[in-house]
Amino acid sequence: MKETIIEKVKDLFEDSRIEAFLGLKEENGQIGPYLFTDPKDLEGFSLGDKEWPGDKRYPLSKILIALAQKYPENRFGILVRGCDERALNELFKWNQLNEEHVVMVGFPCPQELAEACECPKPYPESLVVGEKVKGIKSKKVEVILNMGMEGRLKYWTERFSRCIKCYGCRNVCPVCFCNECELANDDLIPSGEIPPENPIFHLVRAAHMAGRCIDCGLCEEACPVGIPLRTLYKKVADIVDSEFGYRPGYQKDQKSPFNILGERPED
């Protein structure tokens, strides 16, 4: 799979369709983000799999924003899984990136990873290699729903009380791009208080994920205290879908219901 992607990227360089390619590279056993500007560098190209599939994913789309802001005229290739493509689709809609300057090079996640992520769409539309893998419906959301009102409150207050306010969930999030973050507002969230007000801090962030979260799970992977953020945001996405028929990242021409004014809904 990797060889096909490398060939595809080389073609993009050769046809002058991109000036640089944002992907991952393994150097001395370490996998990290890498901006390829020369096809010769593709030697150590990595898909982000080391001990198990997709265990070394990085927020490439977020890195691309900083890059494209400084070089708005350049065209970039970028390595994408299903979730990365959904993130980019959202970033195009929110005018954070120019779609015409981004070339996605997509590959599917293996079934094993799709199941671990409970990913509804473990492949991008921009597949250059591999087969579309079957999407998985979340069981973790179901488990929490079955706890009952009291059980759910207990479950979340316990999880949120572990928070050390590292802001990792926000920092790593590909769709968090606000210049001023409400969670960093000293009047709303006083600095130096740990854990941050429970459950306000996390519920505010979750509410901000409505119509945005593309379910990549990087937040949960970045959480040092193991708060099941992905499950929380999965439910957020489910509510937005059932109430407004919208899932972030899937349709390019459809905007978030919280991004457009609409009719007053029936009570």
Binding site: M149, E150, L153, N198, A207, F244, F258, G262, P265
Partner: protein
């Protein structure tokens, strides 16, 4: 927009373990004083019926651990 957010929040509060009936959206004009009183009184009754917020107890239980 607010109506949309409330629709979302009701479901979301329930998933977080907080009774969604503690949240209500009503449209009251500044000219509708009587209606304002009605709405508030009704909501106070509703919250009283629900009793104290379970959040306080849940957080207190957390501090004990």
């Amino acid at each position: 927009m607010t109506a949309k957010r409330i629709r979302f929040l009701k479901e979301f509060l329930s998933f977080s373990g907080i009774e969604p009936d503690r949240l209500r959206l009503e449209w009251v004009s500044s000219a509708e004083a009587t209606r304002f009183v009605e709405v508030i009184t009704d909501f106070i009754d509703q919250v009283k019926e629900l009793g104290p917020s379970p959040l306080k107890a849940a957080l207190a239980a957390q501090d004990l651990n």
